[in-house]
């Protein structure tokens, strides 16, 4: 196969044959990161080193987030699985007809991840094995697009079970004698066959779980019929329906939309999956502010703010949050060459290579700028074998000290939270985080990262100073437990704080002793002072660390355009000011900020006239104004040409001027017709381009008029 001609207008789809190395059919993951914009100071294989660092950092973060989500979902998923497996165990006797078990799951935000979790339990994946009959259910999925009418819905549902060729071998029957594929008898026959083949006892017959995705989008009329058909077979087919709802549990969509006649057939159980702002806060907190977990890259306040805004305004799903974190990581590692140092420092051999000089130079400059400023005269050439190990060591040191700093920050945040929580428990307002109008915990995290928490810390300190003896004792106890529960690594580094705590606890007079001596208040005062000092020390901004931007995204903005673009504004800008998108190579163009209308491309001219017009546009008027502008363009261009030619070689021109003029006039006559056609063609082209972009509405209300759809203002 050769590369097809992609410009062939008669073909709609092309296949480009594989052009890589033919023998390797391996997995990718060799796609390098894009080149850094600071290419000049990147290592030769910096992209590869950075991608390794990125992979490690991101998978660590993702694993953490996912295990947190999993842990949050696990109890409910387990409940649902339990519900499925026992759905036919305690059937109420004496009902006029058996009810169809239905489980409605309300999980507005995390549909896919949660349902995966449920199906992972219910779906019997190792059905070929003999031990399969511990498994509880077969699962099939129904999507709104499968269920446009009853036939297709039933077909999709039955097909979902029956088409698993690995369970039962497919038997080809004559069409005339076999059941149609949307007949529920077909499912019954299949189910009986499965039970016969695998010799399943009545007691543990596997359930048939039907998962209805995006339940609100399914046609109620169709689903009503599906329910009533299935309810006729309940006694023979253990069907269980799981409805994935995205509307709130009350008022329930099921009850508001479906008639009582349908609801009466169902036995509905409701489950709620945690979601919303609280979930987000908890996830962020436990991923980036938990002393027990150490992310490779600390996410900065700008990304956190974006996550919060995006969650509040656009999309509150967990997928969106993960996507934002993913992109933040990707961006962090794509931009800065130094990020390859996140986890490891390359060996001296690599750094000694000639191509690594700019990298080392940059690194050295950074280290020097932040460290003491001695020996500023030395540069990359000054680096030789004996200083390279020093450089590596100082990078390793910087990494270690940054990590320690981040750990302390997290610990400090934990204390801050504990003290605040304690105050709230005691009935004080404290910093008022959870009050209406108060800062959410995400805002507090931002403040901590930005180093703007000093005021709050001071305030908390003052409150602590005023605590009564018993209260202080309780607080100290809480803090003591907190320190003891920290991972040993942190605990050992916070030895000083723990000593202070123990000292304060011991200094407190026993509760039984009446507190007249004022010792308690003295202790409180000294502890409060210490606490302020300690927290301020611990919560120092990460930016103060050496080489901080390797491990911390800081204030670098999140590329919001990647997930929330302004498509319309971009197109309008492209039409109005095409030169802004042009290559900035021409100095001349840059100086002239505003161009005359005639200097723009056709479509832009037409669009400008479009913006000048009223609601309806008469095509002829439009055409005329366009024509005018093109005339201007022609004249101006001619003038420009004349100016240029007369400027450069006027003496030669002068001789032939008369002749040239005569020829020109003759040309013009002939040209005029051509020019007219050309203008019309250009108009049609520009107009159709605008139409293609969706700027024109054909109402057909007036002869050859079109309607405007965009009312943006050009200033």
């Amino acid at each position: 196969m050769t590369v097809p001609n992609l410009d062939d207008p008669n073909q709609a789809v092309f296949c480009i044959p594989f052009a890589g190395k033919t023998d390797e059919e391996e997995e990718d993951s060799h796609v390098p990161l894009p080149r850094s914009i600071h290419r000049e100071r990147d290592l030769l294989d910096g992209e590869k080193l950075r991608i390794d660092a990125y992979m490690e950092a991101w998978s660590k973060c993702l694993d953490r987030v996912k295990s947190l989500i999993y842990a949050l979902h696990a109890p409910i998923a387990a409940d649902i699985v339990q519900e499925v497996s026992t759905s036919y165990d305690s059937v109420l006797s004496g009902l006029p007809y058996p009810e169809l078990p239905v489980i409605s799951v309300t999980n507005p935000t995390s549909a896919s991840t949660f349902l995966d979790q449920v199906t992972a339990h219910t779906n019997s994946s190792e059905l070929d094995n003999e031990e399969l009959f511990d498994t509880t259910a077969f699962t099939t999925h129904l999507y709104p697009t499968d269920c446009v009418n009853l036939t297709s819905a039933m077909k999709a549902m039955i097909g979902g079970f029956v088409a698993r060729s690995h369970i039962l071998q497919e038997v080809k029957g004559r069409p005339a004698t076999s059941l149609v594929n949307y007949d529920i008898e077909m499912l019954l026959a299949w189910y009986t066959a499965v039970r016969d083949t695998y010799d399943i006892k009545d007691a543990c017959k596997p359930k048939l779980v039907v998962l209805l995705h995006d339940f609100e989008q399914l046609d109620p009329l169709v689903i009503q019929d599906v329910f009533s058909i299935c309810s006729l077979y309940v006694s023979r087919l253990p069907l269980v329906f799981i409805l994935a709802l995205s509307s709130p549990a009350s008022p329930s969509y099921l009850h508001t939309t479906y008639p009582r006649s349908t609801i009466a057939l169902l036995r509905v159980r409701n489950y709620n999956v945690p979601s919303g702002a609280q979930l987000l806060e908890e996830l962020v907190q436990k991923t980036f502010f938990d002393p027990e977990f150490e992310p490779d890259v600390v996410i900065g306040p700008s990304v956190l703010t974006f996550i919060k805004d995006y969650h509040d305004r656009h999309d509150s799903s967990l997928d969106a949050m993960i996507k934002i974190l993913h992109l933040a990581h990707l961006k962090h590692f794509s931009a800065e060459p130094l990020t390859l140092l996140v986890n490891t420092t390359p060996s001296a051999d690599i750094l000694l290579e000639r191509s690594a000089f700019p990298f080392i130079d940059a690194l050295f400059t950074r280290l020097q700028a932040s460290g003491e400023r001695h020996d500023t005269s030395s540069n990359a050439s000054g680096w030789s074998e004996q200083t390279l190990p020093t450089l590596i060591a100082s990078v390793n040191n910087a990494r270690g000290s940054f990590r320690a700093r981040a750990r302390r920050l997290r610990t400090g945040f934990g204390i801050l939270k504990l003290v605040q929580k304690f105050m709230e428990q005691q009935g004080y307002k404290g910093l008022g985080w959870n009050l209406p109008g108060g800062a959410g915990i995400l805002d507090v995290m931002n403040d901590v990262l930005l180093g703007k928490i000093g005021q709050d810390v001071k305030f908390l300190g003052t409150m602590v100073k005023k605590l009564r003896g018993a209260q202080l004792g309780a607080l100290l106890e809480i803090l003591h437990t907190y320190f003891n529960s920290l991972p040993s690594r942190i605990r050992s580094s916070e030895e000083e704080a723990r000593t202070k705590l123990v000292f304060s606890i011991n200094a407190l007079p026993h509760e039984t002793v009446d507190d007249t001596s004022g010792i308690a208040s003295q202790v409180a005062a000294s502890f409060g002072e210490w606490l302020v000092e300690y927290l301020n020390g611990v919560l120092a901004p990460l930016e103060d660390a050496t080489l901080w931007d390797i491990w911390y995204t800081g204030l670098s903005p999140f590329p919001a355009d990647l997930i929330n673009p302004s498509v319309r504004a971009s197109i309008v800008a492209g039409l109005l000011e095409p030169h802004k998108f042009a290559e900035a190579s021409d100095e001349e163009d840059n100086e002239r900020t505003s161009l005359a209308l005639w200097e723009l491309p056709d479509t832009s001219i037409l669009f400008r006239r479009y913006l000048d017009s009223g609601k309806m546009i008469n095509l002829y008027d439009w055409f005329e104004s366009f024509q005018l502008e093109l005339e201007t363009q022609r004249k101006a261009l001619k003038q420009r040409l004349v100016q240029r030619t007369s400027g450069s070689h006027s003496p030669t021109k002068r001789g032939r001027k008369g002749k040239a003029k005569a020829a020109e006039e003759a040309d013009e006559e002939d040209d005029l017709d051509k020019w007219k056609l050309e203008v019309q063609a250009r108009f049609m082209r520009a107009m159709q381009e605008l139409d293609y972009l969706g700027f024109i509405k054909h109402t057909g209300r007036k002869a050859d008029h079109v309607q405007r759809v965009v009312y943006d203002i050009h200033d």
């Binding site: 796609v31 993702l62 995966d116 095409p578 998108f581 051509k674 063609a681 250009r682 049609m684």
Partner: protein
């Protein structure tokens, strides 16, 4: 609220504007808001209107502008474009555009910065990384993105796996084409063993193949204009959503319509591909439940798990400023609404286009060539159909003088309504001794039909087959007159 700073700015760059502004400010207060909405003003007046726009606080945002325009009657001239300007024939159009591009002196073309060599490489390597991170890419911005994406496909994607490029703007494009091409492009795909050839079954097979574990080449789908009509349907979207979240399938698509982002819901955009089993996650205690860790032989159950649906878009501004000539090549350049993307596809138009066996519509010259090579009888038959059609077009035009423009548009869109019933034609042909029986008439028509000069369709109830000539009124008239001269 008037911004006086602006006044000065404006007057400083105009020449005699300074005197005018004073008067205008007064004028503006007296006159109603309609006054500055007159279109096609003289040059002086237009500048004034522009001036006023700048001063008037009402026209400050798009919302205000909308309400201002919506509440006022827009006054436009009564000239009708299609009656004043004769439509361009396809050749005329092509010639005019060619001469326009060759015209000297001309404006220097604007080269968008994304098209320059250096940024392009950076951009492409970024795209590749993002694709392999499990995102799909969506390109927006003004200008045709076809060339740059094709470039991306052939220089980068082709080295990484199979590539299928779809021109979704093509009038013949359908999702089925795309799916069948994928099946052709990927030789390793299991053949359809009689298990359904519907697009759903195809998409399912493709999904199953690429989602199954085991090393295999990736598939890159380049879809130009994923916002085109055939891909807007719910059915197409759900199939694409299935493919888009399949591991090892990567989609790079472009959109041009300003409202195209409305096609997808936020959750569809935010959906994520199932994460590849990370090396570290396998050791994780929970790992098996997120991504059922596959053993080599349970491919079925693995894919039978729940395939996710969504798009996982990452948006990129790819403003190229290139003309849309290729995309619009299939459009009737004489038609005002020809390039309008939305709505149902106009079948009559399309069949007229395809009748000629290619992308181009029937032209006058083509018609004359065909007519020159047929028999006298056939020519007579053509004249008969043509003049009947002309007469009926004129009738309808005269019948509703008020709505001429609308009629014209209608006609432009759908010549079928002026067609002639087969029975009527047969009667007339017999009366004129052109064909004495059905077989003879059919054989005469066959020649025209093969060349797309006569198009037929089953008419609405009771009419039976309807025949018409896919030529606009003016063209048809001139063809007929030249035939009469020859004859």
């Amino acid at each position: 609220m008037r911004r006086f700073g602006d006044d000065q700015d404006m007057s400083s760059d105009g020449d005699e504007v300074i005197e005018e502004t004073e008067e205008e400010l007064e004028e503006e207060e007296e006159s109603g808001p309609e006054d500055f909405l007159t279109t096609t003003p003289s040059r002086g007046k237009r500048r004034r209107a522009a001036e006023e726009d700048n001063h008037n606080i009402i026209v400050q945002t798009a919302f205000d502008a909308y309400f201002t325009h919506a509440t006022t009657r827009s006054r436009t001239s009564a000239s009708v474009f299609s009656s004043l300007v004769p439509p361009l024939a396809a050749e005329e159009y092509a010639e005019a555009i060619a001469s326009a591009s060759k015209r000297q002196p001309s404006l220097p073309p604007i080269q968008a910065s994304v098209l320059s060599e250096s940024t392009r490489d950076l951009l492409f390597s970024r795209f590749m990384r993002e694709l392999s991170e499990g995102f799909n890419l969506l390109m927006y911005g003004f200008g045709s993105k076809r060339r740059i994406l094709n470039d991306f496909a052939s220089t980068y994607c082709a080295k990484a796996g199979h590539v299928v490029v779809a021109n979704a703007f093509h009038p013949d494009f359908s999702l089925k084409d795309l799916l069948s091409s994928i099946e052709r492009a990927v030789p390793a795909l299991p053949a359809a063993e009689g298990q359904g050839h519907t697009p759903e079954a195809q998409a399912r097979r493709i999904h199953d193949f690429f989602a199954a574990p085991g090393p295999k080449r990736h598939l890159y789908l380049i879809i130009h204009n994923i916002d085109s009509a055939p891909l807007r349907t719910a059915r197409a979207k759900s199939l694409l959503a299935l493919l888009a979240l399949t591991p090892r399938i990567h989609i790079v698509a472009s959109i041009d319509h300003i409202n195209a982002p409305l096609l997808w819901s936020t959750s569809e955009c935010a959906a994520r591909k199932p994460d590849p089993p990370l090396s570290s996650s396998l050791s994780h205690s929970h790992a098996h439940s997120h991504s059922p860790s596959p053993s080599p032989d349970d491919t079925h159950t693995h894919t039978r798990g729940e395939p996710r649906r969504g798009f996982a878009w990452l948006w990129h501004d790819l403003t190229t400023l290139e003309p849309y000539d290729f995309e619009l090549a299939y459009v009737d350049r004489t038609s005002i609404s020809g390039a309008h993307g939305g709505g149902p596809r106009k079948k009559a138009d399309l069949s007229a286009l395809q009748g000629a066996g290619g992308a181009a519509a029937m032209t006058e010259t083509a018609a004359l060539h065909i007519l020159a090579s047929v028999t006298q009888k056939a020519q007579k038959l053509f004249v008969l159909i043509g003049s009947t059609q002309l007469a009926s077009i004129e009738d309808s035009g005269a019948g509703a003088a008020a709505g001429v423009g609308e009629r014209e548009r209608e006609r432009e869109r759908d010549l079928q309504q002026f067609g002639m019933g087969y029975d009527t034609l047969f009667t007339q042909a017999r009366d004129n001794f052109i064909a004495t029986n059905d077989t003879a008439l059919r054989s005469l028509l066959g020649e025209f039909r093969d060349h797309g000069l006569v198009v037929s369709e089953q008419g609405t109830a009771g009419v039976g087959e309807v025949l018409w000539i896919p030529l606009r009124k003016e063209r048809l008239a001139s063809v007929l007159s030249s035939l009469k001269v020859d004859g």
